[in-house]
Structure formats: structure tokens, C-alpha cells
Symmetry: D2
Subunit: 149 residues, 4 copies
Amino acid sequence: MQDWHETQIRVRYAETDKMGIVHHSNYLIWFEIGRSEFCRARGFSYKEMEERDNALMVVAEAYCRYKSPSYYEDVLTLRTKIAEIRSRSIRFTYEIYRPADQTLLAEGETLHLVTDENKKVRTLPEIYKEKLLTEVTDANAFPENEAPH
Amino acid sequence: MQDWHETQIRVRYAETDKMGIVHHSNYLIWFEIGRSEFCRARGFSYKEMEERDNALMVVAEAYCRYKSPSYYEDVLTLRTKIAEIRSRSIRFTYEIYRPADQTLLAEGETLHLVTDENKKVRTLPEIYKEKLLTEVTDANAFPENEAPH
Amino acid sequence: MQDWHETQIRVRYAETDKMGIVHHSNYLIWFEIGRSEFCRARGFSYKEMEERDNALMVVAEAYCRYKSPSYYEDVLTLRTKIAEIRSRSIRFTYEIYRPADQTLLAEGETLHLVTDENKKVRTLPEIYKEKLLTEVTDANAFPENEAPH
Amino acid sequence: MQDWHETQIRVRYAETDKMGIVHHSNYLIWFEIGRSEFCRARGFSYKEMEERDNALMVVAEAYCRYKSPSYYEDVLTLRTKIAEIRSRSIRFTYEIYRPADQTLLAEGETLHLVTDENKKVRTLPEIYKEKLLTEVTDANAFPENEAPH
């Protein structure tokens, strides 16, 4: 089983709502950051996959279970891994964790279809399949891995 | 079984992303509009339920299945109904439909816990339970029912 | 001087922040809705201008003065008009007004450059210039004028 | 004259729109991140100022000039500084810069009124005034200064 890829974010003021907590729709945006950084840690950019190789990961399903709220200025750990990879689809799972009080805030899952730019389903290019399934070590980490979000 | 409550929205430019379609996180925001309008159609405002009666519907789970993309300027029908109502939780289901080409774009579900303003689980006030379960007719529709979103 | 074009919106829960009021960034999104509806009231769709006639109104400047906060569920009137139109640029002005208590909440302005899809500045097609400067009467209003946002 | 405070962000997929560039409303959200990090670099958290000391910086005006577009995955430098500080108001200025091609993408300004939680204008507590005007050196930087956003 693949290890979690971890990346950090800090909660933005604009992400909060009148309940004083982060609005639940932002968790889907954070999952997306998790995917971007997951790709980057495996040596490629999702932008290039999309723009150069015409392979888009269109969201077909999204699920999130909210266990505990998050707040403005919280530093959170996004954990991302692949649950399943098939020739034309990829399933990611996620955890949102707050290290300060060791609390798991949310768990989620997204299913993606691989399509071309006209939203027609296509096969995931083999090179990306290999990279996505790579275990990350210091040796193959992307230099810009440490860049902020 | 309860009928769908229907309300209309028009897709905003800001809701699109670089794929040229609506970003998937917006469907959760649309579901939320569906809930607001569902309450309004049953004669009460979710704002009052929250601010006057200290009963919040915190999102505990959210799920969306995306079947077909939506685009800038699309006029969409949000369909909302209650799937289950218990003393401390409510489950809503949703459909997003585009009348212009009779396409069902998405289906979803959210589970809510009823809490007080300190996010402590509490019992749904009986008055709201009754109103939520009311079948809407012309007679009991809220006057501002027709207001825009 | 052109009259204001008016359209209605209702404040969404997701538009609020932890101050309990609408987050200020949403006013720019509302101005954009105002522009869309302004175009629609003059018989064309900004989507077609962009996709069919390759004329984009890229935002070059945006300004907003916030006079009074808006709240979840408020019904607001967006007022939009053209302040200046030149061969390659358009300046819009806006007001956000709450009819319930007759309060002017915000005033703003945006400057747009007309570009092609590669973001190269171009001349505004004459047909759009004419339509944008048209005074709207019942006779030339777009049928879908009444559609929601 | 105060130096710019600099912080880094990476453009999110969800921040783009159908033009393929970042939607202009996000720049106001980035300015807000700039303010948060500006405070943090001066040894305090805006969250504490708001929640513990009942001093809110409500946005009264916002302006942005967009000079060049930004794209998904761009790493950007947010530059923030105080233009003017008075007893009941603060004016910040901003630059958004892309180091990869040394391009200044946007310049902006926001004016804030200091209020209490009921949005009543009040005096900025002296302790915050002092901290905001402090020049930052390695000695007084906040430990969490390096945390991500």
C-alpha cells in the first residue's frame, strides 16, 4: 500500500463562513491541492499532463466526511494517496489532519475519469501511470517539492 | 415520499475553471442554496433557525456524483429534498438538472448534525422538524419564495 | 447618461466569512454578474462575445468602496452601467443596494481591455459597441432577461 | 519607508477561470493572505487581534490593477506593506510578483477601518500599532513565520 503524501496549508480568512469555521466546500479545493502536490512529489506537474499531454483528470465523484471543524490560521496537513488506478480512472483518498492538537478533521475520496480536452474518456498515458504509482524517496522527489501553495 | 423542491440558478463566470467548465466544489455551494430555498419554501429562514433558535445544521458528510459538466451562463434547476430526518440529524438529497437539453448533471447528498452555536449536538426544535416535513402547496409557500439567489 | 441596469441576487451562506458578513472579495464576483446581466439586457450573451466572436473583456482594474456590510439571505440589487466605452476598453460602474432598508452597501468600478483569446488587445467589434450603448426598453429587452443567477 | 513583507503562494486550480487564467477576485484573497503574514512576521496573529482584543480590520476600500495574468501552478511572491496608519484606519499596499520570469502581475491597495465585533469604529490598540510599524529583523520574526498558507 502506498504511503500518504503530505503537504501543509494554512487556513485563509476567506475560507471561513459565518459559523466561524471553514466552509465545507473548501475541503474539495484542499483535496485538489493534495493531488497537485502528490503529482509534483512524483516528478511531474498536473499542468503539463493537462496542457502538453492532453490528459485531464475530470472529477466524477467526490465525498468528504467532516469530523471536526477547522479554523482561520490553522496549519493543516493534507494527506493524499491513490486508492485505485485503472486504465481510464483514478481514485484518490485524503485525510485532513491538524498537527497542533493531533486531530483528524476530515476524510475524503475522489474518483477521476481521464479525458482529453474535449472531455472524451481516454487512456491514462503509461508514463503518468508509472509515475503515479512510484514510491517517493529523497532521490526522486521533485526539486520544487518544497514550494508553497 | 417528499417531492423535490426546485429552484433556479444561473452559472457565474467566477464558478468556471481552466477546463472551461464549472469547478466541482461549486456543486456543494449550490446544494447549500437548495437547502436555503427548501427551508424558505416551507415558511422559515435558515438564518433565523441559526441566529434566533440557536440550531445549526453543520455538514457532517457531503457526496456528489458528476455526470455531465455545466458551463458559464447555463440556467440550472436545483432539486432538493429530505431523505431522512432524525432527532439530531437531517439528510438531504439533490439533483442538478439543465432544462435546456434535459440533462441531469449531478446527484448528491449531505448529512447534517443539528448543533448549537458552540457546535455541540442538540435536538432539532420540533417546530422546524414539522416545517421541514410539510408538503408545500400554494397556500403555505413563503411570499419571498420567488426571490432570486 | 445611461440608466442603471438592475438585477437581483440573494446572498449565499458560502459568501459569508467569520465576521458574520459577506467576504469583500465577493463584491467583484457580483459586479461580474452585473456585467453579464447588463449584456443580456442589451440582447447578447457575453459568452457568445467571448466564444464566437473572440472578444474578451479582461479585467485591468477593479475598485470597490464598502459602505455597509451585507448578510446571509439579504436580497440585493446590483446596479450596473457603462461609464466609458472606447475602441479597446470599457469602464463599468456599479452600486450594490439593499432595498429592505434602502441602504447603499457598496460602489465600484472596473476597467476592461478588449482582447482576443490569446490576451492580445484588439478592437471591440462594432456590433457589441452599439448594443452596449443601447438604451433598454421593453421592446428590445432579451426574453431570457428574467432568468435567475 | 517600511520594507515589503514577502510571502510565497502557489496558484490553485480552483482559482482559475474559463479564460485559463486566475479569476481577478482571488487577488483580494491573496492580499488578505499578505496581511495575515505581515502581522505574523511582526509577532502577532490577526486572529488573536480579532478574537482576544476585539479589534477587527474591516475592509473599507479595495483596489487592484492587473498588469499581467497568472496561471495554475505559478509560484508567486506577495509583497505587503503599510502605506499609512492612523488611530482608526490602516492602509496597506501590495504587489504580486512572479519570480520565474521577473514579472510584476498586479498592484493593489486596501483601506481598513478598525472596529469592534459589532462593526463600530474604535481605536487601534497601541500594542498593535507599535507592532505593525516595527521593522522586521531575524531577531523579532515570529517562529511560525515559515509556516505555509
